[in-house]
């Protein structure tokens, strides 16, 4: 899952990026409002973590402008502005959730998962497709009742495919979700990742439409 983080504080930005990457998210870190707006327009992110006190363009303005441009990407606002008015203004401007600094990593993670669930129309952290079971909270995956150890990227890929089980997911969409705005990734990286995942599960679990994308069927054999 690809998250755009907009935070101008060097240390906090780096800390969140490190922490989220450890949780198998793909994070693109931007430092100011103008860059954030440009990135939002591309609609490549699955979620945006937005600081409000930004240089260049205030976070709230970014949010309002993005929503005016009909960009529906979920936005989680992180801010020091804790007054009722500020929170109401933030939510009314189109924020999907509001997190007040300072916050715990666990809470940030939980809110990201909650927004993700809402986005996917899921009610719980656990996604199950056939013999596959994936827990977003604990990052645990089991296949035919056996626990499977996955790397961050493998987990992320599996999550994306399971969330859209039964549907073909285009490879550009997968690459974006896995590598974010990082263009330096080779075109074979996705194939390598799919290969690794098939080895840990079974070959038939992930189906391939050559040159187009991948899918996990609703009832894998």
């Amino acid at each position: 899952m690809h998250i755009i983080l907009v935070e101008d504080d060097t240390q906090l930005g780096a800390a969140i990026q490190r922490a989220l990457e450890r949780l198998a998210y793909t994070v693109t870190w931007l430092h100011d409002g103008r860059a954030a707006l440009i990135a939002l327009r591309d609609e490549t992110a699955d979620l945006v973590l937005l600081d409000l006190g930004l240089p260049g363009k205030d976070g709230l303005e970014v949010l309002i402008e993005a929503r005016r441009n009909n960009i529906k990407t979920p936005v989680l606002v992180m801010t020091a502005r804790d007054t009722l008015e500020a929170r109401v203004a933030g939510l009314d401007a189109g924020a999907d959730d509001y997190l007040i600094k300072p916050f715990h990593l666990d809470e940030l993670g939980a809110r990201i998962r909650s927004l993700t669930r809402r986005m996917q129309g899921l009610a719980a952290n656990r996604i199950e497709v056939g013999a596959l079971s994936l827990d977003l909270g604990t990052s645990e995956v089991s296949f035919r009742g056996e626990r499977v150890e996955l790397t961050r990227r493998e987990f992320s890929l599996l999550q994306t495919l399971m969330e859209r089980a039964g549907r073909l997911v285009r490879r550009e969409s997968l690459e974006n979700s896995l590598y974010g705005l990082d263009n330096a990734v080779g075109s074979s990286a996705l194939e390598v990742l799919v290969h690794a995942l098939r080895r840990k599960l079974s070959f038939e679990t992930i189906q391939n439409v050559r040159g187009f994308g991948y899918m996990i069927p609703r009832e894998p054999k």
Partner: protein, 466 residues
């Protein structure tokens, strides 16, 4: 004390002015009328005498010769008959009149009965006289030597004349007596009506929510109320501005403190959660950086508080800017060394004395130098120049960093603005300290082009004062 009412005051003033003008005017006009009436009646008396004269000349004097030495008496109707006649014909101004005719020796020849008791005419008498009989006063006209020394007297009773004057007085006085209270009532209404905008203003003020600082609007404020409204709205606006500045400041402070706090929390939690040593070390280093940033911001806030407190209690004293600058540079030695930036202090004279507050000037210098150091990359340079001019002392902090585009400079001090190139390093707080300290000394701050080609020149000009 009961408050004076503008409305009552106006009403009374107007009524007093009206009375002061109308009453003398009425009295004057009444007096004029009395005089005119007197002249008119006197004229009528003279006229009657002339008529008699014509009659006597026509019939001849011999016809008037009296027998008993008292002359002939012409009967006059008695009073009741007169009253009856008057009520029938209603001649309001018909007067009680009489006449006498005397021969050349002063013997009465002919007279009406009502004037028979009047004293005989004397040679020196004026044309018009006021004479008395038993109970009446008479106005008398004497016409002498008409023919063969005959003297004619016509007379009119004063009470008839007074009746006319009485009627005239009623005509003049009654409207005034009735009119004035009516006028007072109408003036009261007019004043109330005229002061309606004041009542509207009071209504607008009293119907406001408590603590509201929205400007007051009256549909169409009259000219006299406009300065009041403008002053009131100006006051409200300044209050709103001050509050807005205060709000922005506290929001800024919250941001400046909570952001590093958030970073510390996330970094420490990450360090605990990970099993990867490098990652844990990165997180701890991040937390350490944020602790330092937090400490610096708290120092800045304390400096700002001390600055306000020092000013509240202290007096301005003679301060040597060169000495203050040297102290600040000494304090910053470690930071300067760590930054890898070359700092040059150029002083024109060994002393530059201004009247001011030492702590505030030190805070101003420290923040300007720190800001410059933070925005200049390693190997860059910062210059501090202190000069004494004729009217002001100037502090210049010049750097060769990225600078601020000319079109954005005005906005830097406008609010707790954060410059695009600064990555949330407490720049906002530092600038508000600089701004507050400058304000205390009546000093101006200018952001200018740097003589290095790139970078910024911050110039603070402190007036030397008295």
């Amino acid at each position: 004390m009961k408050p004076t009412s503008l409305r009552a005051r106006l009403r009374w003033l107007i009524v007093i002015v009206l009375v002061a003008v109308l009453v003398p005017l009425g009295v004057l006009s009444f007096q004029r009328t009395i005089k005119e009436v007197d002249e008119l009646m006197d004229g009528r008396l003279a006229e009657s005498a002339r008529t008699l004269e014509v009659l006597i000349q026509h019939t001849g004097i011999s016809s008037l010769s009296g027998q008993d030495g008292r002359g002939d008496l012409v009967p006059v109707p008695n009073e009741t008959a007169i009253k009856l006649a008057r009520s029938k014909h209603a001649y309001t101004y018909e007067a009680e009149v009489g006449f006498q005719v005397f021969d050349s020796l002063g013997r009465p020849m002919l007279a009406t009965a009502n004037v028979i008791d009047l004293p005989a005419p004397q040679p020196g008498d004026a044309d018009f006289q006021d004479l008395h009989t038993g109970q009446y006063n008479w106005r008398v006209y004497t016409l002498r030597d008409v023919a063969e020394g005959v003297t004619i007297r016509t007379a009119e009773r004063y009470d008839s004349r007074n009746g006319i004057l009485h009627a005239l007085w009623l005509d003049h006085g009654v409207p005034l007596v009735i009119g004035l209270p009516l006028l007072a009532l109408l003036v009261g209404w007019a004043v109330k009506r005229g002061l309606q905008p004041l009542a509207s203003l009071a209504q607008a003020l009293s119907s406001r929510e408590p603590g509201s600082r929205k400007p007051i609007h009256l549909g169409q404020a009259p000219l006299e109320l406009q300065p009041v409204l403008a002053a009131l709205n100006g006051q409200l606006e300044r209050q709103e501005d001050a509050l807005e500045r205060e709000r922005r400041f506290s929001a800024d402070v919250a941001h400046e403190l909570r952001t590093p706090l958030a970073s510390i929390m996330i970094n420490l939690e990450s360090a605990i959660a990970t099993s990867n040593l490098t990652e844990a070390q990165d997180s701890l280093a991040g937390a350490q950086h944020s602790v330092a940033a937090l400490a610096r911001r708290i120092e800045q806030l304390l400096a700002l508080a001390r600055l306000e407190a020092g000013v509240a209690s202290g007096q301005r004293t003679a301060i040597d800017l060169v000495e203050v600058a040297s102290d600040v540079i000494e304090e910053l030695t470690t930071i300067i060394a760590d930054s890898g930036v070359q700092l040059d202090f150029m002083q024109q004279s060994p002393q530059v004395i201004v009247q001011g507050y030492e702590a505030a000037l030190a805070a101003l210098l420290r923040n300007l130098i720190e800001n410059a150091l933070r925005h200049v990359p390693q190997g860059g340079q910062v210059q501090l120049i202190i000069e004494q001019g004729a009217k002001e002392a100037t502090l210049d902090v010049i750097d060769d960093g990225p600078g601020i585009p000319a079109e954005q400079r005005a906005a830097v001090f406008a609010r707790f603005h954060r410059e695009k190139s600064s990555r949330g390093d407490g720049y906002g707080l530092g600038l508000s300290i600089v701004q507050r300290a400058a304000e205390l000394h009546g000093a101006s701050i200018e952001l200018l082009d740097s003589p290095f080609g790139t970078g910024l020149r911050v110039r603070v000009a402190i007036p030397l004062g008295e």
